[in-house]
């Protein structure tokens, strides 16, 4: 880092400190075992398992419709995108023809979820670097999306809106108007985010050049989502392997090359703008049609292996299903973005201060249930 110890008359001693499982900066029950020399981080070892619920094992017991419900509880901030991943995997395996209407609605809801997730992240990011006010600004805007979700499917956080074959319900008649209202509202509020935090000198001092991740490391650690893109690694699943309606919208993949905390921050801010533009492109032309195609009540996937990946707010979520032709998967593996993003924490946090670790961790945007499952 910028302060280099040239010589020291004092014998310093490394010590060990527990950060978590109950700690404000870990946003959940993540435990970090820190080895510190004064304030300088020497080693970070994440200790997982405090919220492990064996979701993957439960999937082997459940039917495919039931599995969708479990995915809400993984990355609860992009619950709807998780649902979509499993539904897409099942639909592709069954080779179902999904109505256009469903694809468009899924895309809109997915992007709204992404904005909601980034709003929360932005608030928490500010809080982690000490600006408490951002939290409330982020939640104000997230609240509007939650209200839209509530009206659409009855739930605010764990939506369960997708089912294999389409959507559980058709959209509410107010949906289009309310989404447009939100887009107009958020377009005036997003510059406010920049005024409050992005341009702040202290914030830039805290983030620029902190926790630098090179492109090579990003790829070798399996970083995805904003974390990978901030290091210049073009890894947007929506762009490279379009699903749902992403092939018919134009949007820019937020890419930066600096790879530091500030770059990760800017990537997420830009993603919010891109998501808004995607929603705007689709909201006026939702095709008419069915909101769901009929599937068998008991879905049995043909024997084989299936993989589907989607871009959640945190990165690439992969669903890998091995089916033996029964009503349950033989094995279902989630490739969660948070897990690989956490794995690089030690790599980028060593040498920084405790404050740097907190800021870095905030831009990795960890959701612990996603990592532990």
């Amino acid at each position: 880092m910028e302060t280099e110890v040239l010589y020291s008359n004092f014998k310093s001693e490394e010590y060990f400190i527990n950060m978590g499982p109950q700690h404000p900066a870990t946003h959940g029950v993540l435990r970090l075992l820190l080895t510190i020399d004064g304030e300088i981080i020497k080693k970070v070892e994440p200790d997982l398992g405090y919220i492990h619920r064996s979701i993957e094992k439960m999937c082997e017991r459940d039917s495919y419709q039931q599995i969708v419900h479990l995915t809400d509880r993984m990355d609860y901030l992009s619950a709807n995108i998780n649902n979509e991943a499993v539904c897409l995997a099942v639909e592709n395996a069954l080779q179902l023809e999904i109505p256009e209407r469903v694809k468009v609605i899924r895309t809109i809801i997915g992007e709204l979820t992404r904005i909601a997730s980034h709003c929360l992240w932005w608030g928490v990011m500010g809080m982690d670097v000490g600006a408490l006010t951002t939290y409330f600004y982020g939640f104000r805007d997230r609240e509007m999306i939650n209200d839209i979700m509530e009206e659409t499917c009855g739930a605010r956080l764990t939506m369960n809106y997708n089912v294999p074959g389409g959507l559980m319900l058709d959209i509410h008649p107010n949906f289009v108007n309310r989404v447009k209202e939100f887009v107009a509202h958020f377009k005036t509020k997003l510059p406010e985010y920049d005024r409050l935090l992005t341009g702040n000198v202290i914030f830039q001092k805290r983030t620029v050049g902190v926790g630098v991740l090179s492109r090579e490391d990003a790829i070798s650690f399996g970083a995805s989502g904003p974390v990978g893109r901030a290091s210049g690694y073009s890894c947007d699943v929506r762009k490279h392997h379009p699903y749902s309606a992403y092939d018919r919208v134009t949007f820019e993949e937020a890419l930066r090359t600096e790879g530091d905390t500030y770059a990760r921050y800017l990537v997420r801010i830009q993603e919010m703008w891109e998501s808004l533009s995607i929603v705007e492109q689709l909201i006026d032309n939702i095709p008419e049609g069915e909101h769901r195609v009929a599937t068998n009540a008991v879905i049995k996937l043909p024997k084989g292996e299936y993989y589907q990946k989607v871009e959640t707010a945190r990165g690439e979520l992969g669903v890998y299903i091995i089916s033996t032709g029964t009503k349950n998967p033989y094995r279902l593996k989630f490739r969660s973005p948070g897990f690989s993003n956490l794995s690089l924490l030690n790599h980028i946090a060593v040498g920084g201060k405790i404050g740097d670790l907190v800021a870095t961790m905030a831009t990795l945007d960890l959701v612990i249930p996603d990592i532990d499952r």
């Binding site: 910028e2 302060t3 010590y15 400190i17 700690h23 404000p24 900066a25 304030e39 500010g126 809080m127 982690d128 670097v129 000490g130 600006a131 408490l132 006010t133 939290y135 409330f136 600004y137 104000r140 409050l196 935090l197 702040n200 202290i202 914030f203 001092k205 805290r206 201060k353 405790i354 404050g355 740097d356 907190v358």
Partner: protein
């Protein structure tokens, strides 16, 4: 009016008791009055902070207990009083219990020399400014003791940061006030205010005074350990910092002391830069009773400024904090001091 009441009490006390006892009783009475001010001001400032924070954060803030939530902090204080005092087994009991008193007593002692108005001024000692600077640095001993004796690593890191921070920023607080003392030629607070009858010092000293004021507010915020310099209890990094292991009223002492210190820093700034209890341009000079009002108005404006800092700025990192002090504020301050000396020497100060 206030003068007459206190004088009457003074005369009555000395008429009914021997001299030594009377002055002891008098001192106790003054102390009781100041303790009351201390408690009320602390509680009021906590409430103000919460309302201001709510205002910044699109919330309403406490508004249920009493009219407009006025009794909220009172209720909180009662809750803290009735709470069990928990502590750690391995704490150094003596120092652990002693630490809160260092913090609260130093804050209280500083309050004693603050000139609320011409008459409402407990001790007008001739080294007023010096006394304030000296006393306000005693509080850090309490924080260091608290952090050390809690036997908690988070508390220790917090205390360590506090030591580093307060010792560094002490210099800037002292030097920026010293810059103003060059104009006044006196350390006595009543003298300093007397000088400002021909214009507030921030106007008299124009450029160097404005710089000194900015430096003072920055380093004053740092010395009270408030955001953006709240390294000491950076909650996202250290949990609660040095007072992690404190509970109940001991915690409340640290908490109240923080707010009183904020009040004291603002009060010093109001006194030294903005004429203390003097009215702007002497508009109410004929009514000296309004002195308290003007003093509190100025102080509250500065308190609000400090709250504004807190609720809009992110927190600095600990090394950046030291960089700011040693590489920027201190050199600026030293140059500023010379500039002010030149200004006074060449008689370039503005006087009405």
């Amino acid at each position: 009016m206030p003068l007459r009441i206190t004088e009457n009490i003074h005369n009555w006390l000395f008429s009914v008791m021997p001299e030594g006892v009377a002055s002891l009783v008098e001192m106790t009475l003054i102390a009781v009055v100041y303790l009351t001010i201390f408690a009320v001001a602390g509680l009021f400032l906590v409430l103000l902070e919460r309302r201001v924070a709510a205002w910044f954060q699109l919330r309403i803030g406490p508004n249920r207990v009493g009219p407009q939530g006025l009794l909220q902090t009172m209720a909180d204080a009662i809750k803290l009083l009735t709470k069990e005092l928990t502590g750690t087994e391995k704490a150094d009991k003596f120092l652990y219990n002693l630490a809160p008193y260092f913090v609260i007593i130093s804050a209280l002692m500083a309050l004693a020399v603050i000139p609320f108005s011409a008459e409402f001024h407990a001790f007008d000692i001739n080294i007023g400014i010096f006394f304030l600077i000296a006393i306000s640095s005693i509080g850090v001993i309490g924080i260091l003791l608290g952090g050390w004796s809690s036997n908690n690593k988070y508390a220790l890191i917090g205390a360590m940061r506090s030591g580093v921070q307060t010792i560094s920023y002490e210099l800037s607080v002292g030097l920026s006030l010293l810059t103003m003392v060059v104009i006044t030629g006196s350390l006595q607070l009543s003298e300093i205010i007397e000088v400002q009858k021909s214009g507030w010092l921030i106007l008299q000293g124009h450029i160097p005074a404005a710089i000194a004021f900015m430096v003072f507010m920055i380093s004053g915020t740092a010395e009270t350990n408030r955001a953006p310099f709240d390294m000491v209890e950076a909650e996202s990094e250290l949990g609660a910092g040095f007072h992690t292991e404190y509970s109940g009223m001991k915690f409340a002492y640290f908490f109240l002391a923080e707010f009183i210190n904020m009040f004291i820093i603002s009060a010093i700034a109001a006194t030294v830069f903005f004429g203390g209890w003097l009215s702007p341009f002497g508009i109410t000079e004929s009514i000296p009773e309004l002195g308290v009002f003007w003093f509190l108005l100025k102080t509250m404006a500065l308190v609000f400024l400090m709250m504004w800092f807190r609720w809009t700025f992110p927190r600095l990192r600990v090394d950046q904090l030291l960089t700011l002090e040693w590489k920027y504020l201190l050199p600026i301050n030293l140059v500023n001091l010379v500039l002010m000396a030149l200004l006074v020497w060449l008689n370039l100060t503005l006087r009405l």
